[in-house]
């Protein structure tokens, strides 16, 4: 007789549905983190007198923000209705919270970046009121963008975790730390690529620290979420994960030991770190999609807690007080 399977299913069909999201969303997870990390670096560079780092990070933030916006609109089933996101503000919807973070952050990051174009303005504008107000306004906007940036870099973890997708929901404790680490690694990396060597110290330190946090939090996540870690090692998710680990570790080592001495090493390690960060996001994204497609990841943990006599039940008073 065939031994009883550890879980049952209906013709092997999925129980939960995978998100309908395409590459737009993992790309946004990466770019949103990059924008946030870059705004933090730009604000710090502005306050500590590093104009080269400030300029390049502000431009990176605006570029990442622009592509993010395009990706987020493109991903919608009805792109022309993107502004319906602004109808409500809902704490229970991380996507709504994110919409408002972006709505506040976007114009600030854009103003900070545009203020860098002051010298390219035609002479009458440059010497007029606009030209004279621009640097100060850019600094204020840049610092405010930097204050909002950590929220932009971390809320996307809740965006994924607040679902019934097993590998995302079960990673809810660790994912925000993976994401901010990944954001710091990417922003520090591109900061090293674009800033002059004498100003890239903070970018290098942020990149190394971010990489360590990303790798450590990812490792901790995979060793503590049981069955839901399995999809992270398989298929496309596994391939992205291996690439992410290799790129992040190599980039961080090079950043730690070579990037302050040689421009070539800074560029190479920065590029590796940015690519590693993107791979981390695609790995997590595909792990969730894979975990939703196989009913085992949904059914087995639920069946195990039922059989152990520990179903999820409300224990409080019968009627709300």
């Amino acid at each position: 007789m065939v031994p009883k399977a550890s879980f049952g299913s209906y013709y092997g069909r999925p129980v939960v549905k995978a998100s309908p999201w395409q590459a737009d969303i993992p790309a946004y997870l990466f770019l949103g983190g990059l924008a946030g990390g870059s705004s933090l670096l730009a604000a710090g560079a502005d306050l500590t007198g590093r104009p080269g780092l400030r300029r390049s990070c502000r431009v990176t933030a605006l570029g990442a923000l622009g592509v993010s916006f395009a990706a987020l609109v493109h991903d919608l089933g009805r792109p022309a209705r993107f502004h319906h996101m602004l109808r409500v503000a809902k704490f229970t919807s991380p996507m709504s919270v994110g919409t408002w973070i972006l709505t506040a952050y976007g114009p600030l990051a854009a103003l900070a970046a545009l203020s860098e174009a002051r010298d390219q303005l035609p002479r009458p504008l440059r010497t007029g009121l606009v030209g004279r107000a621009l640097p100060g306004a850019g600094s204020a906007a840049g610092v405010l963008a930097g204050v909002l940036a950590p929220a932009l870099a971390s809320y996307t973890a809740v965006l994924l975790a607040d679902t019934a997708t097993p590998s995302w929901h079960d990673a809810r404790h660790h994912l925000p730390f993976v994401f901010v680490g990944s954001a710091a690694a990417a922003a520090g990396g591109l900061g090293m690529v674009n800033a002059p060597l004498r100003e890239s110290g903070p970018a290098q330190r942020l990149a190394v620290a971010g990489s360590v946090l990303d790798l450590a939090a990812s490792h901790h996540m995979e060793s503590s979420i049981g069955l839901s870690a399995e999809p992270m090692r398989q298929g496309r998710a596994g391939a992205y994960r291996r690439a992410a680990q290799a790129l992040t570790a190599a980039g961080a080592l090079l950043a730690a030991f070579g990037a302050r001495r040689s421009r070539a090493a800074a560029v190479l390690s920065g590029a590796a770190l940015a690519a590693g960060s993107a791979c981390t996001r695609f790995a997590i994204f595909h792990a969730g999609q894979q975990s939703a497609t196989d009913p085992r990841y949904t059914v087995q943990p639920q069946r195990e807690r039922l059989d152990a006599g520990r179903p999820v039940r409300f224990e409080g008073p019968a009627e709300p007080a």
């Binding site: 049952g8 299913s9 209906y10 013709y11 069909r13 999925p14 129980v15 939960v16 549905k17 995978a18 998100s19 309908p20 933090l40 670096l41 710090g44 919608l76 089933g77 009805r78 209705r81 993107f82 319906h84 409500v88 809902k90 704490f91 229970t92 919807s93 991380p94 996507m95 709504s96 919409t99 930097g146 950590p150 929220a151 971390s154 809320y155 973890a157 809740v158 607040d162 679902t163 019934a164 809810r172 730390f177 901010v180 954001a183 330190r205 942020l206 971010g210 946090l213 939703a292 009913p295 949904t298 059914v299 639920q302 069946r303 039922l306 179903p311 999820v312 409300f314 019968a318 709300p320």
Partner: protein, 291 residues
């Protein structure tokens, strides 16, 4: 007055919580699979009434089930399971070596509905009947509700852009329009065996308890209610079931939990991570003096 207790988890009257001042009694379905004959009249009636388009015409090899599962264009779905069994299907029958399980599945209209919680546009709303309904003119097809549903019910409709509701999240409305006109939902109306029963949820729960007790007493020991308990992971389903086997056999999650139950915990972790990033970024600018 609206109570703010149990807003994310636990027993609650969803219409009151949503802000309706004097809502009608909560409506729901009790689907008794022990009397389902697999006629699919519910699937057809649902499609006819709600003008739900064709959902793929192919033979799946999954017994008599060719609509596969709930989705954007399948709002009632009849599952067919051909099961080798020594158990009696009905009281008084000879013990058979084989039994049919048939179950008409539908949106659960959860007390704590994850799809509604995560919807960023307000397109998903709570009706005065306590049901969960998509407003087609508001939804922008972000797709967030799709992975949020612990039952895999709601789905974004794909297809040619000029066809109705393509790109929008779609699911059972519990025939919101018929309810407003004091009519029962189309599937319940069409069901010839009263496997699908519509009514006040409180009354249906009492009726279901009587039915399952009757079946167990008659020797159908696996008969069980599913989704009836207001203390369960979704605060009790507005559409609940009497099953003759484990939920997962029918493609249902055995112990579903609304994802937003963990929301405070998730935001706390995100805030900690954001603080870590902020402090780390500041620290990156600290230079050693002797450099």
């Amino acid at each position: 007055m609206t109570s703010f207790a149990n807003r994310l988890f636990g027993p609650l009257d969803p219409a009151t919580e949503a802000g309706y001042l004097d809502p009608p009694t909560r409506k729901g379905f009790f689907t008794d699979t022990s009397v389902c004959i697999g006629c699919k009249a519910c699937e057809v009636a649902c499609k006819e009434w709600n003008a739900v388009p064709e959902d793929g015409i192919s033979l799946t090899g999954m017994s008599y089930d060719n609509s596969v599962g709930l989705g954007a264009s399948t709002w009632r779905h009849v599952a067919f399971i051909e099961q080798p069994s020594g158990a009696r299907e009905h009281p008084g029958e000879e013990s058979a070596s084989f039994r049919w399980l048939m179950e008409s599945d539908v949106c659960k209209h959860c007390t704590h509905a994850a799809c509604l919680d995560v919807c960023p546009t307000g397109a998903l709303m709570r009706s005065e009947f306590g049901t969960v309904v998509v407003q087609n003119d508001v939804c922008n097809g972000c797709g967030y509700c799709v992975p949020a549903c612990p039952y895999g019910v709601i789905e974004r409709r794909e297809g040619p852009k000029d066809e109705p509701a393509v790109g929008l999240a779609q699911k059972c409305t519990l025939c919101y329009d018929r309810l407003k006109g004091d009519l029962e939902p189309a599937c319940a109306k069409a069901c010839p065996t009263q496997s699908i029963q519509f009514g006040d949820l409180d009354e249906l729960r009492v009726r279901a308890k009587g039915r399952v007790d009757q079946l167990v007493e008659a020797g159908v020991s696996d008969a069980q209610l599913y989704g009836h308990d207001p203390r369960d992971g979704v605060g009790g389903a507005g559409a609940f079931f009497l099953l003759l086997d484990r939920p997962e056999v029918y493609g249902l999650p055995p112990d579903p939990v609304v994802t937003t139950k963990a929301l405070p915990q998730m935001w706390r972790q995100a805030a900690l991570a954001a603080a870590t990033l902020l402090v780390g970024s500041l620290a990156a600018f600290v230079e050693r003096r002797n450099r």
